[in-house]
Symmetry: C2
Subunit: 324 residues, 2 copies
Amino acid sequence: MHYRPNTVAKSLATQRRNIKICVILHIQGNLFFDDVVSGVEKAAAEIKDFGIAVTVRRGANFDVECQLRNIDAAVHEGCRAIILVPINDPRITTRLNDLHDTGVPVIFLTSYLEQTACLCHVGCDYYKAGRIAAELFNLVSGGRGRIGIVTPPCTLLGVNLRIQGLRSAIEQEYPGMRLVALSEVPGDEVLAYRYTRDMLLAHPELDCVFYSIGGLSSGLKAIAELDPQHKLRIVSLDMIQPIVDAVKGGMIMATICQEPIAQGYTAIKVAFDYLLAHTEPALKNILIDPSIKIRQSFHETGISGAVLADPDRSVDAASCVPFS
Amino acid sequence: MHYRPNTVAKSLATQRRNIKICVILHIQGNLFFDDVVSGVEKAAAEIKDFGIAVTVRRGANFDVECQLRNIDAAVHEGCRAIILVPINDPRITTRLNDLHDTGVPVIFLTSYLEQTACLCHVGCDYYKAGRIAAELFNLVSGGRGRIGIVTPPCTLLGVNLRIQGLRSAIEQEYPGMRLVALSEVPGDEVLAYRYTRDMLLAHPELDCVFYSIGGLSSGLKAIAELDPQHKLRIVSLDMIQPIVDAVKGGMIMATICQEPIAQGYTAIKVAFDYLLAHTEPALKNILIDPSIKIRQSFHETGISGAVLADPDRSVDAASCVPFS
DNA sequence: CTGTTAGCGCATTCAC
DNA sequence: GTGAATGCGCTAACAG
């Protein structure tokens, strides 16, 4: 027949079951993941009235045992779906596959594990982000740029994909561009400064830098010292505060945002749809499009405030005659 | 106390009232507004279970009488909120102010009228879009670009704001840039071709073109004929099909998307929140951020399909050693 | 195992 | 006017 169950009535009836979703991260003190969490919390607030509670557990950085404990704790408190930023470790894979067999769905967030059962992966199109970076450099360098990359370790999935994207775009489409240097920086401000500085000193021909360690801003200081005139074209990642400041200040030309808030939000919504409507996501890989932000993207117009018409900028047809 | 009404229960109880939202446009056959409508429909599908119906009325282009009739019809069928793409005419203003007095909220979509009571305006930050265009030209022209603009009539609110944004950015921040020509094209393919061609012929010094009449693609043909080598830097608006094709083909350098789907979606959500929770929007002006799309933004990675791991692009740490 | 009923939290209606 | 009862559409617990 034409019967469509009514989601609202269904969730009202289901409220008493006290459904829980658990989000597990293994990163502390990272601005990008703070935004992921705020996306999670935004979605959590929206689905609270549906009788679904969301709890977030932030484990220690890359601590496998801690992540395993968090998974156990989540199961123990009876959670009905797990959203996970996974650590790439066989113990996690094993644990998640077991979980899947017991009927608890797993949603990967920002990264995923191969050979591991899951409902889906919610992330960003890291590969495309890399290709976009390549194109930006191509556009501003007249197709003859010399690129250096400062990056987290390439063993991380997203990082690897991003660099492959940049590389493949250059090879396939921008023959005049060159990838000249790549510097992998472990998570440490001191090393970020040193590696960035060393790269620039070792490669004076560099005119483009892909600074993809936004969490570490001391590398930006190294760049500022060695390039006080802002001759280098710098593209970075995400809209965390130090990056935004550098874009506004004219030091960074563009930043490619991996939409952490949307990622967190979407992951919760996938879990929600699964728990309430038993809807499996249409795609195993839900990739949020990276977005490009430049200086003017952060321009405060003032028009978005409380009043409709901004007296400084109301419609003025007379101002629109041709000019010279 | 700490009482928070439960939205779900409330809407279940309210279902019998058969609430209606009416969306009224005055544009036919415009791809941008097709996307606005699809955003509306997406939100409509989501709130259907809440017992709220959405109907869309698309009137004749800029026909004031028709828009007035549509408003009357909406009121007559008992709709509880009106979402309107307004025509700038005093009769509309009068009618809307009357409506407001009878308690029917009006939400402006993509444009608004001054001196007119409304719940809020949902649009795009047109001013910022203009500033972004200016910055893109500045970036790729080494700060010495000569800009020509092809635009719809500046009497339209968004159009005017956009051009003011571009202009003010140039005046304030890009002293080496010049606005050389502005061509206002009424909605007509023949004129679009002719005006665009005339502008290019009259201004051989032009190296940047802001082609902001995406609905009319014959101007692009004029550009293609006069600039077969793609020496002009072209920035356009929105992601409608002819523009996307031209970006993919390398003719258009970048397009600034005014997020029609998000605008339509947001307008419905505002009405929904008002009708169900009696929540007034926090801002009178809800401005969606314009987004920048370049060629690689349209790159199909293939990874977003049904499988998680793309064998062509799985993690390969060995590929990430430094190169030359 | 199938059929019936209570109740999720609220708005509306009806009785007083 | 104030207060109690009904039902929105569904799930869960219950009874047969």
